[in-house]
């Protein structure tokens, strides 16, 4: 297992390197550059100043030099400087990841806590009313766009009912400590609901399908034939086996929650990593886009590994050597 892990981790190095090349190329190949926005709408800015800015941002160097410069700094943990936020990228990204965690962790917990039991129940009571309702809500969750659902939530709970704030992530003037945490939670309820509902939908379907497959297996019938209690059959024999494929889905749900958050974060004016990525791309703040995309890619790689390791832990038939 140890050898397997170290091999996988070593393999990730060239992979991350390759991803960084692709990210870099895609970003620089997009037309226009950051200094263009300075020109737009400002009749007084001069060509020399644009040139100066291009030099300051290092946009004058040839492509491969720009990449190597970036790589050399990145290896030392220096991801450059955000042009629009005027802070080191690493600080900015770390700050935004922390903000995003306020949404992703609760969303993950809520999604799993609701979807897995519903999926199991649906499978055990196939074609029941509850199963139909669960199926309906799953398709509802899969089909509705996050931004629309977000706006509807704001409309009902903030505009009409005045129960929750319509976006933002803190009430101005509330100092730290316990009140600040409660305040932050209040702001996170709506975006967490949106994010979790969207992943909950798919997760319910996976759980239901996996469980349905397992409960028709011979060993479940054998367990019942042995005269075991139904609860033991379900939790010990069926659910454990059904969870194996779900673990992959769960592991990949984490980067999915981060990557899927931009729309939700924009609608709720939540300063997370997803919104930062969108804004940096639109604003031509490439150093930030690069770091944010790289973070998301590494997240996918890491959680893929987590899924594989979890496989081995859950399924005695799988051994990595």
């Amino acid at each position: 297992m140890g050898r397997y892990l170290s091999r996988r981790l070593l393999q990730m190095i060239p992979l991350v390197f390759g991803i960084s090349v692709i990210i870099f190329l895609v970003l620089v190949m997009a037309p226009g550059d950051p200094t263009d926005l300075l020109l737009a709408g400002n009749p007084k800015v001069r060509a020399e100043d644009i040139k100066l800015l291009r030099r300051i941002y290092g946009l004058d160097d040839p492509l491969h030099i720009r990449y190597l410069k970036w790589l050399r700094a990145a290896v030392r943990g220096d991801f450059g400087y955000s042009r629009t936020y005027k802070v080191p990228v690493i600080e900015l990204v770390a700050d935004r990841i922390e903000n995003s965690l306020w949404l992703t962790i609760p969303s993950f917990v809520v999604a799993v806590a609701v979807a897995v039991p519903i999926g199991v129940y649906s499978a055990l009571h196939q074609y029941s009313k509850v199963d139909y309702a669960a199926t309906f809500f799953a398709f509802f969750g899969i089909s509705i766009p996050a931004f629309w659902f977000g706006i509807m939530m704001i409309y009902v709970f903030a505009v009409k009912l005045h129960w929750l704030p319509p976006g933002g992530f803190a009430t101005p003037g509330i100092a730290g400590g316990w009140p600040a945490v409660v305040d932050r939670l209040r702001y996170s309820i709506l975006p967490v609901t949106v994010l979790s509902l969207l992943s909950m939908a798919a997760l319910t379907r996976y759980t239901r399908a996996s469980m349905l497959e397992v409960i028709r297996q011979d060993y479940v019938r054998t367990a019942r034939a042995k005269g075991l209690r139904e609860q033991v059959v379900i939790t010990k024999h069926a659910l454990r086996n059904a969870l194996i494929p779900i673990v992959t889905v769960l592991a990949l749900l984490v980067p999915g929650l981060f990557a899927g958050a931009p729309l939700t974060e924009t609608v709720f004016a939540w300063p997370g990593i997803g919104r930062l990525l969108v804004e940096s791309v639109l604003g031509g703040d490439y150093a930030v886009s690069q770091a944010a995309l790289l973070f998301l890619s590494v997240l996918v790689l890491v959680f893929n590994l987590v899924a594989d390791v979890a496989y081995a832990a859950l399924d005695p038939r799988i051994r990595y050597d």
């Binding site: 037309p31 926005l37 100043d49 609608v267």
Partner: protein
């Protein structure tokens, strides 16, 4: 089975009817509390308090600057200039603005005593001279040196007197000391000496450690979310002039950045912001919001909305190198063939008025007597016939085998502009001109297409200040990259006038020159004027003394006068 479907139907009904629940409660109370006003805006500024600005967040920067920094001269909502940090505006009559031989000038300013930086240091002439030096340093990436470079030198006989020597005449030398304002020399000088190009990244200007001179100080900057200002109680109200002489009444001002328009509107409806600025809600959505508040009986009782046509001029540049557009008659025919009255009525309910020239009626250079091209398709067809165009087999006019087909570009994704484009396309089709629509992302459009003049017709807007003129835009020697004469218009008289305007000190004569410019402009039609934009500003009915200027100065210009009436 039927029972199951009935259940589904009920569930669907409940879900779909959720948003229409009539549970509205009035949103008249302060969003946070009676000592705070929350201002909703769209973008977060990159920098505050520094003359450097990168890109389009400049406007919101000025809004946050106003409470933080005492301005030298302020523009009121009646478009009057009044001295704030200085004792008076220099004038030729009083002798503190002197004309010298060789077209040079000397202007003397007296700073008011008692104005201090929030760390206790006095604001002195040194800070103005420092800002000017910074702005003139070629290694400092400036957003505009055009005024600063007209200044030859600034002398300070004592810390509160500045003698500004101008290289040549400049009409607005009584409105700006140096074209750069002031910066805290005692804080920034060492960083400036190290590397002027890194100055915009200094923590002063980008963080909570930005020390100002105004009635408010910055206490919290949550990047990506909000900036909180708090009243600075040591502010010397009696030492300054203008609107800031009024003791600030609200303890806290919060700027909240909401990037999504729909969320911003939800914030208005839910009452979780108290004021929104010009950038927060685009005009068309603002119009919908106004109608909705009206319908619900909340307009003027809960929210006050204003959309003043200002100094933003929407227009279509015509590339005068184009084989068709080279001909004046074709350009005039285009203008006759577009029903601009219909466009502003249908899309904006007339609230954004048709533009017949460059400057709007509020501008001093506006010419009320220029020819107005009212919609006249018959006249358009006649002009095109005179220019030698005949109908082709597909109904599109042609001349010498070339079809009269033109590309009309604008920024992709801008719904209003796209709607205007479609109306224009349809109207010009009726007089035999084919319009092909081709839109690009703003970065490509403003960054590559316009500066390289790779367009035939280009729709966009210029944002003017009350002192704006035509230099740089329509002077024959300022085609890109030397300026922004994108149409490529070269008219000797216009070039002469536009260069002369900023150097003419007499406002009457300046206005006369700009009126002559307007006449030539309207006859030559190098650009199709469309309409003057109006932007919505809104505030809760209980917030007092909000006075938008409709110019380029921000709503916060009189922030110390803002108050709640509860």
């Amino acid at each position: 089975m039927r029972n199951r479907w009935r259940l589904f139907g009920m569930v669907v009904l409940v879900v779909l009817s959720l948003p229409t629940l009539g549970l509205s409660a009035p949103a008249v109370r302060p969003a946070v509390g009676p000592d705070t006003i929350v201002v909703g805006t769209q973008q977060e500024p990159a920098n505050i308090g520094i003359l450097f600005c990168d890109g389009c967040t400049m406007f919101v920067g000025t809004m946050i600057n106003a409470p933080l920094f005492v301005s030298t001269v302020e523009l009121t909502n009646e478009w009057k200039y009044q001295p704030v940090a200085v004792e008076k505006l220099p004038s030729l009559k009083d002798g503190d603005w002197k004309l010298l031989p060789n077209n040079k000038m000397q202007v003397t300013w007296r700073l008011r005593r008692g104005i201090r930086w929030q760390d206790g240091r006095p604001l002195t002439a040194e800070d103005f001279i420092f800002a000017w030096r910074v702005n003139m340093n070629p290694r400092f990436p400036s957003a505009g040196r055009d005024v600063s470079e007209r200044v030859e030198n600034i002398l300070a006989p004592n810390p509160y007197t500045m003698v500004v020597q101008w290289k040549k005449k400049y009409a607005f030398a009584n409105l700006t000391v140096n074209g750069a304002g002031y910066l805290p020399r005692h804080i920034l000088n060492s960083a400036y000496q190290r590397d002027p190009s890194k100055l915009p990244e200094n923590e002063w200007g980008t963080s909570e450690r930005t020390i100002g001179t105004g009635p408010y100080r910055i206490v919290q900057w949550q990047k990506g979310s909000s900036i909180t200002l708090e009243r600075w109680d040591q502010f010397p109200y009696s030492a300054v002039g203008g609107s800031v002489r009024t003791q600030a009444r609200v303890r806290r001002i919060v700027f909240r950045f909401v990037p999504d328009t729909n969320t911003q509107i939800a914030n208005v409806l839910a009452g979780s912001i108290d004021v929104f600025d010009e950038t927060a809600i685009p005009f068309v959505q603002g119009l919908e919001l106004e109608k909705r508040l009206q319908r619900e009986g909340r307009l003027n009782t809960e929210w006050v909305l204003r959309a003043e046509p200002g100094l933003v001029w929407e227009h279509i540049d015509l590339n005068l190198d184009n084989v068709h557009l080279r001909d004046k008659r074709v350009r005039q025919a285009l203008l006759y063939g577009i029903n601009r009255d219909l466009i502003v009525q249908q899309l904006f309910e007339g609230k954004q008025p048709v533009a017949h020239q460059v400057f709007p009626p509020k501008h001093y250079g506006y010419n009320p007597n220029v020819r107005k091209y009212t919609y006249d398709p018959a006249r358009a067809r006649q002009l095109l016939q005179e220019a030698g165009y005949t109908p082709g087999p597909d109904g599109i006019l042609q001349k010498g085998g070339q079809r009269l087909s033109l590309t009309l570009m604008t920024t992709a994704g801008n719904r209003t502009r796209e709607a205007v484009q479609q109306i224009i396309q349809q109207q010009l089709r009726e007089i035999g001109i084919e319009i092909r629509i081709q839109n690009q992302p703003a970065r490509v459009y403003f960054g590559e297409t316009l500066p390289s003049r790779k367009f035939e017709m280009a729709m966009y807007a210029w944002v003017f200040g009350p002192t704006a003129d035509c230099e740089g835009l329509y002077t024959g020697d300022t085609l890109p990259p030397n300026g922004q004469n994108y149409p490529g218009w070269k008219n000797d008289e216009v070039t002469r006038i536009c260069h002369a305007v900023p150097e003419e000190l007499d406002e009457g004569r300046r206005a006369q020159m700009l009126r002559r410019f307007a006449e030539i402009f309207v006859d030559e039609v190098p650009v199709i004027p469309l309409y003057y934009r109006a932007d919505y500003v809104g505030w809760k009915a209980r917030v007092q003394n909000l006075k938008p200027t409709g110019a380029d100065s921000p709503i916060t210009w009189n922030v110390t006068q803002w108050a709640w009436s509860l």
